[in-house]
Symmetry: C2
Subunit: 203 residues, 2 copies
């Protein structure tokens, strides 16, 4: 694609590096900014730089934070007897938005994946064990909320093995047919597992 | 949606103001930036601010430019006998990318739309007439490449009326069934017009 100006070209190339954005969308955004007041672009730019330079990670759960300890870990209203283990901060946000969980979290930073060169030591598994083992630990349950993939299962297996010696209940989020989806469109593996893992009817 | 950090929230809100970006995509982009090196975010931010503060508009054709006169108007290789009238710089870029047009352009800045409060004086129509009327003008043809909408047609009609007194050929881009699309999925108006406006077969 040819651009009428070097400035546009630079901006498009930079924007198009963001995930899910192609050159056409990037161009649309660049032209949109040109039509807006100058301070709109400035505040967008500032917010990005502030995000990148000032964001901290919680020393306890590795969630994104504005302080050394994140707002969830600081919140005394949260149930300290349960830790939900997630891969990324995105997953944490997704679970928070369900309003169904009031415990603490632990962000692993990924899953074990030898193919991608991710070994257990690249994740925050040691930190999780320390939290559970700590003298003042109130943790009674570890809830694994990992992806239903080979890598997610491997990671869940690894963590379970490490936690086994401790007197901790280990649970996993339920797998099954998603709410609102029709059986005929559900993939065979999910449907098969939902039959194997059937529960007493609570209707 | 709740965010683990004020910095994330600010960034998501700013990014989500861009066209076609919702909060979920904005969050994905923000988290992506957090994973990248700091200078990546800085260069993205710089490119946006540079774009907004340094971009100029061509004094002749109103295209986006790095200088008072844009690279197309400056280019002596371009055919100065034809001016293609477009609504926005985006349309200009789209036509440039076809490599089928080697003349000059004129960017109107929109179309006449009483409902949106856009009158002919809000557009660069006077500038176009001046260019065509200029003593050193080489213009022999004005090609209208406006949207096939009521507003586009109104604008084309208005410009045609203004240019009529001059000895200028006025053309419009061809309307019809898009290349590669199937007749049965073409809307009735397009199909109807493509029959009314049929051409001698050149196969």
């Amino acid at each position: 694609m040819e651009y009428p100006s070097k400035l546009i070209e630079d901006a498009v190339n930079e924007i198009a590096k963001l995930p899910g954005i192609g050159k056409k969308s990037a161009l649309r955004m660049a032209l949109h900014l040109l039509k807006q007041e100058e301070d709109r672009t400035q505040s967008l730019a500032d917010s990005l730089v502030n995000l990148r330079t000032k964001t901290q990670y919680c020393q306890s759960c590795h969630n994104i934070a504005d302080a050394p300890i994140c707002s969830i870990c600081q919140n005394r209203q949260r149930d300290r007897s349960i830790i939900c283990v997630v891969e990324t901060a995105t997953d944490l946000i997704a679970i928070e938005n369900t309003s169904q969980y009031r415990g603490l979290y632990h962000v692993l930073g990924g899953v074990i994946s030898p193919l991608d060169g991710v070994s257990p030591s690249d994740l925050t598994i040691d930190g999780l064990l320390q939290r559970v083992n700590a003298d003042d630990s109130e943790v009674k349950e570890v809830l694994l909320a990992l992806s239903a993939t080979m890598e997610g299962d491997t990671t869940a297996f690894f963590i379970t093995k490490k936690l086994k010696p401790l007197d901790i209940k280990i649970t996993s989020i339920a797998r099954g047919v998603p709410i609102g989806s029709e059986l005929e469109y559900t993939d065979e593996i999910t449907l098969g597992r939902s039959i194997v893992g059937r529960k007493a009817y609570e209707g």
